[in-house]
């Protein structure tokens, strides 16, 4: 299991792995927004947390179709299906590796983008923390979509279409928690804890669904 984690990490960090592209996409999307809505700093600081969250959501979806695609291309997917370890665990490990390689950089990059958006320090911290807690859920939901689309030649776009509706709760609670940290009357903890609960729930449901889909898509 540990070796699988390390192998996946190495593969995605290496050139062509796409981990860097996700961060670049994230930064580009967020950087484009001010050109759309105008350089009004007050407005930007107000919508900043939402923009950063949406950018992270899109960037997290971007690399998802690669989750099982490379395994399928070189045939190691069949090996994974046949080995003795429970498939659910293998999928979970692959998700964790994918998250560390693709989503963790987004979390690290988010404070920088928060500065661009003229967000306050508290808001920047809140966005980073909620992203840290929320992005695993995106990876876990996305794993189901990736497993479903694994046998499709151009599954990338389809994965996003299938996964985005299911990711709405994560977005809602992530953004509300970020706003709750800045705006006084709303408490920060309830939405944050719900976000945590959603992540844990999907940590179970996602690998289960993905394993089921992989078994059914392979034969």
């Amino acid at each position: 299991m540990m070796s699988l984690l390390l192998r996946d990490l190495k593969l995605s960090v290496r050139a062509g792995g796409g981990a860097l592209i996700g961060v670049l996409f994230f930064m580009t999307v967020v950087a484009v927004i001010p050109f759309g809505v105008g350089p009004d700093l007050n407005l930007l600081s107000r919508i900043g947390p939402a923009i950063v969250w949406i950018g992270a959501l899109l960037a997290a979806l971007l690399g998802l179709d690669r989750l099982f695609q490379t395994e399928r291309d070189d045939g190691s997917l069949d090996l994974i299906l046949m080995q003795e370890h429970p498939l659910v665990l293998t999928v979970l490990v692959k998700c964790v590796a994918h998250w560390v390689a693709n989503s963790l950089p987004l979390v690290v990059a988010s404070p920088l983008l928060g500065l661009f958006m003229n967000m306050s320090e508290v808001a920047i911290g809140a966005v980073a923390v909620t992203l840290l807690v929320g992005t695993p859920a995106l990876t876990f939901i996305g794993a189901v979509g990736a497993a479903v689309a694994v046998s499709l030649p151009r599954g990338g776009l389809l994965v996003s279409i299938l996964v985005l509706p299911l990711a709405i709760p994560v977005l809602i609670f992530g953004v509300s928690a970020s706003y709750a940290a800045v705006e006084d009357p709303a408490p920060f903890m309830p939405p944050f804890l719900i976000l945590l609960a959603i992540t844990m729930f999907f940590a179970v449901l996602g690998p289960l669904g993905a394993a089921l889909a992989l078994r059914n898509a392979s034969d």
Partner: protein
């Protein structure tokens, strides 16, 4: 494949030929019943009194509410079929949830369109990011995604099993989406919107609503059976064409 008790119980219905015969006999009756119910429902919905608060627009509700109800029932039917596909490998279950997805999308579209047409005179705007509207819209997107997935795959059996997984994951998610949209809504919603669900529904409106709900339900089952028959036929055609091609290549 080990024949479990459940399979032997369903085995009669699992035979598509038997299903085709049975549904062929039921369909005319079902269609007639649907037509009669629609005639009665439409008559009732245009002859009853208007609401003192909503005025004449309450008549839109006689279409809107049943359609919205069906959009959810259709997903439940699909989820049940998805279980049938994954657990029992029931060949008709594959056909069932594939045939139901476009129907669900159509009923959801009706619900959205009529809801929007009700909202324009009542709320003064075509669309409100109301909790219910938003979750129905998300449901619509999920239906479209499932249709897209089914169309993208060549092998019908694999497509059925893979989309069954997705249907079930979506089914588990629907309550979460609903809950989160409601939470989001209470954060953002100005309290001025007139809510549809008053404390009580007058029996004056309840009767046409119920008749229309039954009419829509039977319409769904009629169309669902028809679409399932089409799908079975389609698979037979492909199977026979493949067989013909194989025979032709053997002769050469």
């Amino acid at each position: 494949m080990t024949q479990s008790l459940a399979i032997t119980k369903f085995s009669d219905l699992a035979n598509p030929t038997y299903f085709l015969n049975l549904s062929g006999r039921i369909l005319p009756w079902l269609g007639c019943l649907t037509a009669v119910l629609f005639a009665a429902g439409l008559y009732l919905s245009f002859t009853t009194e208007g609401d003192y608060q909503q005025g004449e627009t309450v008549r839109i509700m006689y279409v809107h509410v049943p359609a919205a109800w069906l959009s959810m029932m259709c997903y439940s039917v699909m989820a049940l079929s998805a279980i049938g596909t994954l657990v029992w490998r029931h060949p008709l279950a594959d056909v069932s949830h594939k045939a139901a997805a476009p129907l669900g999308a159509a009923f959801t579209l009706i619900a959205l369109a009529t809801g929007s047409l009700w909202g324009k005179p009542m709320w003064g705007t075509w669309w409100v990011w109301d909790a219910r509207l938003t979750s129905v819209f998300v449901l619509f997107l999920m239906y479209l995604g499932l249709i897209a997935l089914n169309r993208a795959m060549d092998d019908p059996s694999k497509a059925a099993r893979v989309s069954a997984v997705l249907i079930l994951v979506g089914f588990v998610n629907i309550p979460i989406i609903k809950f989160s949209v409601e939470w989001w809504n209470t954060l953002h919603q100005p309290a001025s919107v007139v809510r549809l669900d008053g404390p009580t529904i007058d029996p004056e409106f309840l009767i046409p609503l119920l008749v229309m709900a039954f009419a829509f339900t039977f319409l769904f089952f009629t169309l669902h059976l028809m679409a399932m028959r089409n799908e079975i036929w389609r698979r037979r055609v492909t199977a026979q064409r493949r067989m013909a091609a194989r025979m032709a290549s053997r002769e050469n």
